[in-house]
């Protein structure tokens, strides 16, 4: 709903979303997905917000990816039925999965081990399941040439339904050049397509061959053999994506509105009311060529001060300094000044809030969209 607020009447700290930039980010990803000739299963863990997800999909109630069963519940209640729960299933969550499925949600789960497959199959409930493939030696998944891949598929046959394979090249976040991301995208694609080939040779259909991370989707040269991509952070973008050259600073749609509360002239620091409670403690640009510490500072209209960053955070204090250690222009930032901080990692920063204050470019009319959390 539109309320009477403007950026100047909001209580700080709070989360601000530039809707025009968000729509441009969505349009850019949709164009990429179309040119790659694949489907989109947007990841809604970044936004956890129905109005935003509705703008991310390519069609009403499009396929989505979730990271918690709470997301599955909330989005199913909003009409989404084609849902992939993309975290390896804990056996203790299968009751909840079966309950959601019984209510009409076509919820798919993920396994990467024989034990996990057995837990799903033992329920005898034909739960559609993807096998997670490790494409980057980063976290979860079975390697595409591992003998276990076929054992998992055979185990699933005993009571579940194999619906395909998925992978997430999270290592793309650690790439140091665009060429490296291009190569990572091809590695991600190659791993999952090879796994699908082996499963098909073993007599299993794999209608879903799913890859994704925002960097690899944006840089992939082709996605031959892939049926769909998953991406989430593209909707907001953040400083990690800027550091990876996935976008520019001007594309970052999310920021935290804060107020200057103090001048520490002897220490050459500005203090704000935006600490880690509002920004998160994510320091995702730590290894980048440009370390943004806990966020890059902008004026209230969203224009960055390239040399002013959040150097440290306490619970409700942000500590700001010039990147080069140079003297702060105190007159430019009187106590009470509103600033906006661009986040390192949009997923982590948004997670600290329960609503988005939505603006259109630098116009001041503010709409509020809810966001949920929990598990």
């Amino acid at each position: 709903m539109v309320n009477g607020n403007t950026l100047h009447t909001l209580s700080t700290p709070c989360l601000v979303l530039d809707e025009v930039k968000m729509h441009a980010n969505i349009a850019r990803l949709h164009a990429r997905v179309r040119s790659l000739g694949v489907g989109l299963r947007a990841h809604v863990k970044t936004c956890k917000s129905i109005p935003i997800a509705e703008r991310m999909g390519t069609l009403p109630h499009a396929p989505i990816t979730v990271s918690t069963l709470q997301e599955a519940e909330r989005f199913f209640a909003a009409g989404y039925r084609d849902v992939l729960y993309a975290v390896g299933i804990a056996p203790g969550k299968l009751d909840h999965v079966l309950d959601l499925r019984a209510r009409g949600c076509d919820l798919m789960v993920v396994v990467d081990s024989v034990d996990g497959a057995r837990a799903v199959a033992d329920r005898g409930a034909s739960v559609p399941t993807l096998i997670e493939i490790d494409s980057d030696d980063h976290r979860a998944g079975v390697r595409p040439h591992d003998q276990a891949l076929l054992t998992i598929a055979n185990t699933l046959r005993q009571g579940a339904v194999l619906r395909g394979v998925m992978t997430h090249a999270g290592a793309s976040y650690g790439c140091r050049s665009s060429a490296a991301i291009v190569a990572m995208a091809e590695q991600e694609r190659g791993a999952v397509v090879e796994a699908a080939r082996r499963l098909q040779a073993n007599g299993s259909a794999t209608p879903i061959v799913s890859v994704g991370s925002t960097p690899t989707v944006m840089f992939a040269e082709h996605l031959t053999g892939v049926s769909e991509v998953r991406a989430g952070v593209f909707v907001f973008m953040d400083l990690v994506m800027v550091g990876l050259a996935v976008c520019t600073l001007a594309d970052v749609a999310l920021s935290v509105l804060v107020t200057v509360i103090g001048h520490q002239r002897q220490k050459n620091l500005l203090l704000t009311d935006g600490g880690w409670m509002a920004l998160s403690r994510d320091h995702g640009t730590e290894q980048h060529a440009v370390d943004q510490r806990y966020g890059l500072v902008c004026d209230v209209a969203g224009q960055p001060f390239a040399d002013l960053i959040v150097t440290d955070t306490n619970q409700e204090h942000g500590i700001l300094a010039r990147r080069d250690g140079g003297p702060i222009d105190w007159n430019a930032f009187p106590v009470g000044t509103l600033l906006r901080v661009l986040p390192n990692h949009a997923c982590a920063t948004a997670a600290q809030h329960d609503r988005y204050h939505v603006v259109r470019n630098d116009r001041n009319a503010v709409t509020t969209w809810p966001r949920f959390g929990g598990w």
Copy 2:
């Protein structure tokens, strides 16, 4: 309320609070405060929970410290009236402060600059105000010998009410020995007592002389001249406090219950469903002699595995490895195993959750206490 849950039926990840350990931590701090002969103004930013605050105070509806006006609202609604908002006041929040005061909350604010003092005084509403003193060159405050101290007091006289001084030696968290914390506690005390002396010599009464952080309260040799201490994290304790020798591992009352979801045998890693969404990204032990990364792993009864830590986190994945890199005993942690993770920083980890699941030692009957967030 007690519900039908046990630790084995809760949905993971979730926050678990050992009530017996919590009560022992509270009793230990109360004994310290009594022996120091000062008052306690417990900081409720750590718990943000009425049932817990009721157990932290030394009397019903005791004085409290808050870090947001949301906390002031919630605790005032629960009957607390003597409330210190301990973050330098943003001028834009004064309407809210005045509204709370008009409703009967004796809310005090904090300033550390002439500009801040003028903003409060200009309201002409006799808002009781403490001057924040910088005792550790860490963050906010005016130094005790700074000429600005008296200018701030004189400015407050024009429409506010000076009620005293406060300081927070946040640098105590960076101490590397108990002797260093003892010295920091004396530095914290000395700074604020000296500031009070100067203000009194200038004709101002300072009924409140307030210091605090859990480490300095636990290690102070005496608090002559101090009227009250503020502390919050003592109620739960955490790995940072263990690293500072403020408590032992057995005293940590807060943990995150997680489930093993995968074995990465080639990488020698266990995966759980407890990522940074459940643990936070706080890495407060990074500079300690023992770096606990993102948390120390315990069995479901809360007994630590000294050699198993959360080495990395993604949004909903925890990545566990042995501290020494040695091989994991896979048979000890089958998929589905419940584990509990002790947090680096209780304030940050608790902030990721909306409720506490309360157990008494290793007994399994679970009570739920709510927790709030926001500003």
